[in-house]
């Protein structure tokens, strides 16, 4: 079954990933961003320079953009350690969006 999202592509994961990466980068200070344009999966979130409020803001902005907040949706709480795990959480809960 082909899934066509609002971006007109069938690879939903790739689009979601780009959005999350761009939004993540926009939340970082220039100093912490350090010229990064892509975010590697193994980036440890706690080392990224994003504090709790920055992280919460990122999730709130992603909710505006993607239409869902997986941290609210999840039954079992999961606390992502790396950027890759963070993106995975979004991909896993994508079906939950209305």
């Amino acid at each position: 079954m082909q899934i066509i999202n609002k971006f007109g592509t069938t690879n939903m994961s790739e689009e979601v990933r780009r959005i999350i990466e761009d939004m993540f980068l926009s939340e970082l200070d220039d100093k912490d961003k350090d010229g990064m344009t892509r975010v590697p999966d193994d980036l440890v979130l706690l080392d990224s320079g994003l504090d709790s409020i920055g992280f919460a803001t990122l999730v709130a902005k992603l909710e505006e953009e993607l239409g869902y907040d997986p941290f609210v949706q999840m039954d079992e709480p999961v606390y992502p350690r790396t950027f890759g795990e963070f993106v995975e959480i979004y991909e896993e809960h994508a079906d939950g969006q209305s």
Partner: protein
């Protein structure tokens, strides 16, 4: 009544009382610091003294030295603006300040003489024996003055005596000696003081991790200190759980406070630390500790109304406001004379709204609309007034937006004036103004431009 230094003296002089950056301060040495401080600052005896250190460790030493020695002990949050410190000093007639802030030295504060706590690590002999009780110069039932942030955003000063602060401290020494508490909170806040007092009076060791610059450093301090008891806000706990080293702690006690503890975080903690006793504690600077809930569920059991667990009475008003009545022997009060802490019958209105759900009461938030962002109180009115100043903003409403990470975030809805430029420019201007004038947790995380804002019958904007 036993002062803090007396509690230290009842322990063995070789007991580790504090751990700071890897080195342990034993009871005997702490007593020496106290005696030395009192001898060198004898003018503090019977006076009103303020404490303002950037680190919890120095604050703790000052508290043990001054309790029972100074008549009044004012704890100044180190981040307070100079004008705020002046205000606190005036209200309490504080005569001296022990601290390490540069501007307090030169601020030309009326009546305040700034001295630094000296000789903490150099030249102390490690006393094996704490010595006989002797006269340590205890002269006063010191009044402790703490700052809270009241409903209008201007910090209020609340006076406590040591007995009210120690009301719920557990004093079983056998258990106490096995506990090593980690301090994550600022020691100037009520929660930090509770952890400090529990550790000191309970016969435990306190590991200072409040000054750590990163979560990694915090976890390093806790692991190397062999922390097995920890208290934090739900937001702090969620953050610590993002590190895979955190589960290496062998926690026996995990407590939550300062924010509404939701079912998710309680579940996550129980899963990560299956041996730990998990409790969430309801307390306020005014009322002190209200009660503790250890059944793994958010909110509290309705049975607490008839059988309150900790010696404080609990009731819920018709409007759903939680009220507490501390024992009559306690004499907390607001320092400002025209403010009353309790109603005519000794009840304190906590300002927290609760709602009955089955056999429990669940917390709904503050009555005043104060937003709790990761344990920090944000007053929507203050944020609104900052945003209102931005050119192009006709009206603004600031409200809470629920967050699974920090409990809440701040959200701003802005109605632009007729001639405004593009939405993005306006949002950018709002963001800039907020960043320049507000604390980071007060800055709206989400800003929406809307065409109209809801107004109620009284003509007030609805949040």
């Amino acid at each position: 009544m036993k002062r803090l230094v007396d509690h230290v003296a009842t322990r063995s002089g070789t007991d580790g009382v504090f751990v700071d950056d890897g080195s342990e301060l034993k009871g005997g040495s702490l007593i020496e610091v106290v005696e030395r401080t009192r001898a060198e600052h004898s003018v503090f005896r019977g006076s009103s003294v303020g404490v303002c250190f950037s680190r919890g460790y120095e604050t703790a030493l000052a508290l043990v030295a001054l309790d029972g020695f100074a008549e009044q002990l004012l704890i100044v949050p180190p981040a307070s603006k100079l004008s705020q410190v002046r205000e606190f000093i005036d209200q309490t007639n504080t005569e001296f300040i022990l601290g390490d802030r540069e501007d307090l030295q030169t601020g030309g504060l009326h009546q305040a003489d700034i001295r630094n706590l000296c000789g903490l690590n150099g030249g102390l002999t490690q006393k094996e024996d704490a010595g006989n009780a002797g006269d340590r110069g205890t002269v006063c039932d010191t009044e402790w003055i703490l700052a809270t942030s009241g409903t209008t955003g201007t910090p209020k000063l609340v006076a406590h005596d040591l007995s009210s602060l120690l009301r719920t401290v557990k004093t079983d020494a056998e258990i106490g000696h096995t506990l090593r508490w980690g301090l994550l909170y600022d020691l100037c806040r009520f929660a930090g003081i509770q952890v400090f007092l529990q550790s000191l009076v309970g016969g435990s060791t306190l590991i200072f991790a409040d000054h750590a610059e990163s979560i990694d450093e915090q976890i390093n301090l806790l692991l190397s200190g062999n922390c097995n008891a920890l208290s934090g806000t739900p937001t702090m706990w969620r953050r610590l759980l993002m590190s895979d080293r955190f589960e290496n702690l062998s926690l026996r006690i995990a407590t939550l406070g300062g924010e509404i503890a939701d079912g998710q975080i309680l579940k996550a903690l129980q899963r990560t630390f299956p041996e730990a006793k998990i409790s969430h504690i309801y307390a306020s600077t005014e009322a002190g500790v209200g009660f503790s809930v250890s059944d793994g569920q958010p909110g509290f059991p309705a049975t607490f109304l008839e059988n309150p667990p900790e010696g404080i009475e609990i009731k819920v008003s018709d409007e759903g406001l939680l009220h507490l009545r501390p024992p009559q022997t306690e004499r907390q009060r607001y320092v400002e004379e025209d403010l009353t802490l309790t109603d005519g019958e000794g009840w304190i209105n906590t300002g927290d709204v609760v709602e009955r759900s089955g056999d429990r009461f669940l917390f709904q938030g503050r009555e005043s609309g104060v937003i709790n962002v990761g344990g920090n109180k944000v007053h929507p009115e203050k944020v609104e007034s900052v945003i209102q100043e931005v050119e192009g903003v006709a009206q603004v409403v600031v409200r809470a937006k629920k967050s699974a990470i920090t409990g809440n975030l701040v959200e701003a809805l802005v109605k632009p004036s007729g001639d405004v430029r593009r939405e993005e420019e306006l949002k950018s201007a709002v963001r800039e103004r907020c960043n320049d004038n507000l604390n980071n947790y007060e800055v709206p995380a989400v800003c929406k431009v809307v065409s109209s804002l809801e107004m109620n019958a009284a003509g007030k904007l609805v949040r």
